[in-house]
Amino acid sequence: MSQVTQASLAPPPVALAPTQAVSLNINGQAHSLQIAPWTTLLDALREYLDLTGTKKGCDHGQCGACTVLVDGKRINSCLSLAVMHEDSHIQTIEGLGTEDKLSPLQQAFIDHDAFQCGYCTPGQICSAQGLINEGKAKTEAEVRELMSGNICRCGAYSNILNAVMEVLNNEGLIIEDKVWSAGDTKPDLAPVEPPKQ
C-alpha cells in the first residue's frame, strides 16, 4: 500500500470567481449587485435582475436583439461588461412604457404588426428609440440605414420601418411629406441602381 500524503487527499483547489460590487441604475431604479467582472450587461439584466425583456440573440454584437439605452444612447448590452456601467442610466424595454400606457413606439409596433416571432422586437424598439433620441434620421432611407444594426430573421422589416416612420412623423422629425399611419400599404421601394462604372 502506497503512502498517501496529506496534500493529495486535500480537495483540489477551487478557483472562486472573484466578484465585485456593482451599482446599476436601471429604468430609474438603483440596483446593487455582487457579480463577477466578466458578467456582461446583458447577463446582469437577464440572469441577476430578471429583466428578461432584453434578448440574447447572437451574443456577439451582430444581431441587435440585446439593444438597450445607456444615458439615452443605444448599445449592444452583450458586448459591454456590467462593471463598465456604474453611474450610467440604463433603460430597457421594460422601462420604455407601462402596461397601461405603452410608449409611442411600442404602440406603433402593434398597430403596424411590426413583428412575427417577436424575439428581435425589444431590441428593435430600443434601437428605434435611440434613433429618435439621436435625431439624425430625416428620411426613410436614413431610417433604414440607421436601423441596420437590428436583424429580424422573420423579415418584418417593412412593417418595422412603417412603425418607426409613423412615430418620427408624429414627432415632426421627418422631412418627407407623407405621413404613415396604421394600415397604410407602402409603395414598393425604388430598385437599387446597379453600380455605375
Partner: protein, 341 residues
Amino acid sequence: MNSFTFTQATAVAGAVQDKAAHDDAAYIGGGTNLIDLMKENVARPTHLIGLKKLGLDTIENTPDGGLRLGALATNADTAWHPEVEKRYPLLNQAILAGASPQLRNMATDGGNLMQRTRCYYFYDLATPCNKREPGSGCSAIGGYTRVHAILGTSEHCIATHPSDMCVALAALEATVRVSGPNGERTIAFEDFHRLPGDQPERDNTLEPGELITGLDLPEKGFAKNFSYLKLRDRTSYAFALVSVAAALELDGNTITEARLALGGVAHKPWRDKAAEAMLIGQPATADTFRRAAAKVLEGAKGQGTNNFKIELAKRAIVRALKQAAEMNQVLDTNAFQNSNP
C-alpha cells in the same frame, strides 16, 4: 471567457502603472472588439483596465488649426461632432460606413485603431494562425480568402485591418498620441499600423504598455473634394471588401493635391504616395484616375478566392476619385464622356 479582474482607471499614469503591474492585462475602451475576442477565447487577458473615466472623451480645436479627438470619444460622437461634419466630412463618412449605430455608440476612437483582423482563421481556435499563435502557420493562405489582403502580404499572414475610420485617418495624415512607461510620444498615422512580415502577431508599433490618448487631425480636411467609397457584401453593416478614401484639391480641373488610401486590401490602411504624386498637376479625368489606380495595384497579389479584389479595387479608386472631383466643382463636361471605364 476566462476569469479576470477589473479596475476602473481614473488617470493615464495610473492606468499605465496598472498595466505594467500585470502580466496579461489589457486596456478596455468600448470593448466592442475585445469582449467579442474574449468570448471566442482568442484574447485571454487576466486583468482589464477600464478607461472610461480618464476624461479623454473630448474633441477640441488645436492651436495649429487642427482638431484633437480624445481617445475615449466614441465613434458616433466623433462622426457627428460639428467640427468633424464641417471640416473633416471624409472622416464623418468613413465612420458612418462602419459597424452599426449601437457599436458606434460604444466603440472609441483609440479602440478603432486597436481592432484585430476579422480573418475567419484568426477567430477559429481549431485552425493554425500565425497572428494568434506565432509559428503555427497560416490557414488563410490556400484557404477561403474573400476578406483577405492583396497588397503587402507575407508568407506568414494575409490578414486585413478591418477599420473604415482608419482609412480616412490615413488619408488625412492624423497623428496618434500615446502615453506609456517611458512617457509620451506621437506616431505618424502611416507608421502606426504595420505590415505582417515575419511578425504578424504585431498589428501596430505600440511599445508594451503604451496607451493611445488621442488623435490629432491637421488643419487640412479636404472638405470640398472627397469621397469614401465602401464596397461590401451587403448594403450596410458589413466589413469592406474594398474601400477607398479619396481627397483632392483642385485648381479648375487640375489636381493640385491628392490623398488616396484603401481599406480591406492590406494588413494596414493602404496609402500610396507614389500614386498620389502621379495625380498632381494632371487634369481630373478618368484616364488620370485609371493610371493612379493601376499604380496602386501594381504589386497586388491575389490568393485565389480574392483575385477579384484587384480589379474591384482599381475600379473603386477610379470611381472614388471621380466622385471627389465632381463635388462642388464645374468640370469640363466632356472630361468623362469618352473615357469612362
